[in-house]
Subunit: 255 residues, 2 copies
């Protein structure tokens, strides 16, 4: 489409298996084949960032790895088959992002140590090598509280706005907009997932058409998407919070 | 990009203010200017569906409208300034989808009575009038439990898969995929939001490049994205669940 506001999303091809220590900037730039332009946003699956950073552990250490990556349990189902935790990154998810698919045989993969730093390093490196003023989102696949299925979200960001601030803007009739903080970081990750698909080995996609979101490397990272504790109405699962109240009530200590 | 897996998303222009009773199929087909092809997915903001269906009430009835559209309160903050409810559609959101921006002066807008039925009627009508085998997503903007900002999600779907089922599929090494139920309905809505933007009056976007998701009109609707109660670990806010436990414990009735 020739619409000036059209968005184009396409996967980078030819990115093979990533090993610890690989030059991810070089790999991505080679796969882009000179196509990157100012304002392009690269959405990079966290899996390949973790692999390049050597964030693997033996598969037999899965439980220990999840425990190490978690700061607390948020909720479990009654059967104990589903456990939602808050990870050290503040992200609420199953298994703290520890992943056993698309990893080397006998290994599991942890999330990058600092996905925002990883995203900034990638953006900086790709900018330096191509001259194109790009942004980078590092994505992971997350479940949701009340909705089935998973969507890709931004867990790292470098040089790209993750939450647009439309507060103060008005609708067509001049009244304040009701929805004022679109999380474009998560929307970019979601759009990219539509072309990466899950089983096809396409870990990087380029989104072209929202150059207005690309900016300095010191823009807030994806950590800023994590809701702070004082604004979190769902910091504990319903069962867990009820049980805590029940215990306090029975002991006469709550209030 | 000429990549066969590229996704293109563009907004339809020229859709003016929608009034109750307007022929939305005709409006969308006219705005598409003959560009629709088999496999295109139209993402239609619920707001214009509600307007066409006459789902308005006087602005002074806002509290009553929210109460009517809600089946229960899920969570409130301590100050009472944030209230999360479950709507009659099963969707957990602030204000039950009742909206006061981009509406006619002095009115508020409720969600469509049955967004899946609306989406199917639109898909059916657009297919009949254009001959193009398209799918339709009706979108709304939703907040999330643990993440700041809002993203557009699918609240209605007609002729398009909303949750891909990759269970049984394997990764590049032949092992089962960990993430098996991508909510492509929400990802399509998110991608569309990136071109609609909030304040620009572009209520419809076309997503081209995932024709594999377009199918019969009797595919499950977006209602299937709503997590059923028995799988919902966050059916009550933490404060509310704790208070209930505390009351039961104090009365010696809980367990």
């Amino acid at each position: 489409m020739s619409d000036p506001d059209a968005l184009t999303v396409w996967p980078l091809r030819g990115i093979g298996e990533i090993q610890a220590g690989d030059d991810l900037v070089g790999t991505i730039v080679a796969a882009a084949r000179g196509a990157l332009e100012d304002g392009d946003i690269l959405v990079v699956t966290s899996k390949i960032v973790s692999k390049a950073e050597g964030r693997t552990r033996p598969a037999c250490e899965r439980d220990a790895a999840i425990a190490d990556e978690s700061v607390r349990i948020v909720a479990e189902n009654e059967a104990g088959t589903v456990r939602i935790v808050e990870s050290r990154l503040g992200i609420v998810a199953a298994a703290a992002g520890v992943d056993a698919s698309n990893t080397a045989e006998g290994t599991i993969l942890l999330l990058p140590v600092d996905p925002d730093a990883s995203a900034r390093a990638l953006a900086s490196g790709i900018r330096a090598r191509t001259g194109a003023h790009v942004g980078v989102i590092v994505s992971d696949t997350l479940g949701r509280a009340w909705r089935e299925g998973q969507t890709d979200c931004a867990i790292g960001a470098g040089g790209v706005v993750v939450i647009e601030d439309l507060r103060g803007e008005t609708d067509a009739a001049g009244r304040p907009l009701a929805v004022t903080l679109p999380c474009v970081g998560d929307e970019l990750a979601a759009a990219a997932d539509l072309v990466k698909r899950k089983s096809t080995g396409l870990p990087v996609a380029v989104v072209r058409g929202r150059a207005d979101l690309v900016g300095d490397l010191d823009l807030p990272g994806a950590r800023s998407i994590v809701r702070p504790a004082e604004r979190d109405l769902f910091s504990l699962g319903t069962r867990e919070a009820y049980a805590r109240g029940l215990a306090d009530g029975s002991a006469g200590t709550g209030g």
